[in-house]
Symmetry: C2
Subunit: 451 residues, 2 copies
Amino acid sequence: MLVKKLAADVSAYDGKQVVLQGWVRTNRKGKNIGFLVINDGSCFANAQVVYSAEQDGFDEIAKITLGSAVEVTGTFKATPDGKQPFEIQAEKVEVLGMCDHDYPLQKKRHSFEYMREIPHIRPRANTYYAVFRLRSVLSMAIHTFFQERGFVYVHTPVITGNDAEGAGECFTVTTRSDDHYEKDFFGKHAQLTVSGQLHVEPFALTYRNVYTFGPTFRAENSNTTRHASEFWMIEPELAFADLDDDMDCIEEMMKFCIRYCLEHCPEEFAFFEKMIDHDCVKRIQKVADSHFQRMTYTEAIEHLLKAKDQFENQDIFWGMDLQSEHERYICEKIVDGPVFLIDYPKDIKAFYMRVNDDQKTVAACDLLVPYVGELVGGSQREERYDVLEQRMKDMGMNQDILQWYLDLRRFGGCKHSGFGLGFDRMLMYMSGIQNIRDVEPYPRTPRNLIF
Amino acid sequence: MLVKKLAADVSAYDGKQVVLQGWVRTNRKGKNIGFLVINDGSCFANAQVVYSAEQDGFDEIAKITLGSAVEVTGTFKATPDGKQPFEIQAEKVEVLGMCDHDYPLQKKRHSFEYMREIPHIRPRANTYYAVFRLRSVLSMAIHTFFQERGFVYVHTPVITGNDAEGAGECFTVTTRSDDHYEKDFFGKHAQLTVSGQLHVEPFALTYRNVYTFGPTFRAENSNTTRHASEFWMIEPELAFADLDDDMDCIEEMMKFCIRYCLEHCPEEFAFFEKMIDHDCVKRIQKVADSHFQRMTYTEAIEHLLKAKDQFENQDIFWGMDLQSEHERYICEKIVDGPVFLIDYPKDIKAFYMRVNDDQKTVAACDLLVPYVGELVGGSQREERYDVLEQRMKDMGMNQDILQWYLDLRRFGGCKHSGFGLGFDRMLMYMSGIQNIRDVEPYPRTPRNLIF
């Protein structure tokens, strides 16, 4: 019997005998009565088990340590006037696995840093217990959103030979201990993917609407709270769609995911609100209820110039890359809500973004949201062979390696658009968790590879 | 307007004006009339567009090449007596992207080998077009099955430092071109994961029921039709569950996935039946309707000994690893349906499998199905610290690296079980496709890394 099931229908189980398995969260013993709080993994809530001095083995039950696995047989009792909605009057408590006394998770608050050293144990601590369930639910929200709309899920490859894009530093994948890659497993240099976008575009030009959802990698030696070497990305791609269609899809997806998670994780969000970030539910609920505004990069620069004095980086000019403080100013002070910045200078954006008629900007969009700044980046893709080829030349890219990608423009190409959502950052945004290391089951960062 | 939507409600659209975008599959011109068959990616079925010599631009439409992207405006016409259920009487056909004449996909049958050279184009060919949609639908079936049952989805890491298991050869992940891994990005040797199981077990000991679904890797230099260097695996793990519970879960999952796919991909399966494997639907339907039997390895060996003469490998003895011909004999000739073989000799199974009371066998199960043999492998995990530690010693494993895994047995350990399903093989099994290279979007195999 699962706690989730019992909690969902307290009156139906009142007075019934139940058998539960779970792990001990606390064990308090008084003179005549003891309380064993167990969690069985099925939901955030615990079950309180009451045992009494009158029953066999009172002292043994009292000795059950924190973290132990137990099986409880007892009578379910609705407690409408109690702090918990129900409790279990124990008849029998069997220890399935006693927890040793050097259990790393004692009944006190541990620091996030300490917890990162014990990724095999920390899911049992409330914060992580809530985060990793939300991670699962948000994954399902993503799949549900796209599949219900007929998008085809594509497993783009993790290992790629496609190192032309140059989006940050890459990990090499090899079976050798030198750089004779021509003799390597694949007969050439191979690396971990930095993005599935180029690989998924051919599928958009087949199925119209597609998405990837998988791990991506960066070998950047940067130790920030927002960067990990391994993280999951969602990269949808839509054929016959321009930048406006792209933004409509982003907006719809964001709202769907927020509502889905609020609906499926009410206890987890109540916990985040209480313990992690008081405003998190209000913040995302507001996003779900907003109309996402749209503003050009050029307009944004004008706003920033007027407010120059407020920034740490005061060197504001057209053509600059916006920093987080600038992005937050735009969405928090100017718009007071989510906003798409569009039409960025082409020199600060990727080669595949469609050049606008002004020849200076590209049809890109970044979704900025209060509290974090950029959350999603998208663009209409350059579908004109000549323009794309010229842009690759201008940027000094190796055309040979991406000839297949160029060829998509010769073989029934059409206007298409797509975007990328960093899954882990979305999770941080929703929960209020400040460090990407605390939303990933086994975070990988420079000089940090535990298990 | 999507073809899928039109096809689903032909009578509602009869006589209405519609606008479609899609890619030209064929274009036949007669003297007074022409037929443009387009596919818009929304479903397997094409839409037939009729254009006539009486309209403007007849000759231009007739010149539209195979593979081109077009937008068609016309009148939808239900054709209950025709070969297709509907057609579009064109008013206007606009070319969005003309396809060049060196288009690699001409109107003839191409070999699978040829197709593998053009992974950016082949999704448009019927076989791949059907396979990759099924791939997406089967993914969703997996997620739906587990999420509906409260399983938590865990993103186990792709990069791991955990090279103790020794399950086949591994890819190194590095930013260096020598083997000074102590100076490497992570400060030690890192590799691509071969299985998420060890990393997911801590989550089962927290959430009770969990699963992974992600890419895994093998650097084995074997060129077979069933091995790829990168493939996706599903690895569920169930706490408080023994081998019987594990098999129940496998059986339920298999049946659910088959029914889900048959329901969501009827056109794709009709195609597979006609063009790839006449028996595929019958075969999987039978599995969905079967009770999965259970037989010990020891019994299986007895059956095989009696039928020895029928095998290529006639060296049958207790303790041997069964080969595909043996597995198929058991499920096809002896059982005539899906069967779990259980209680394998411990010497041919992994260190983490629970040792049975006979001390000779482990609580493992392999699901054998007609036509392919083994499809799923599972086991109850060794939850006894001492037994697990001894087994690791016996197998010469480095205990230091897996001390965290051993410790799970000291910190509230309990009986638990899990299994692994090779996603790509499941897809082969369902579709009848014979080569794993033809069910993966960008297959990676020795000396083969395209894009």
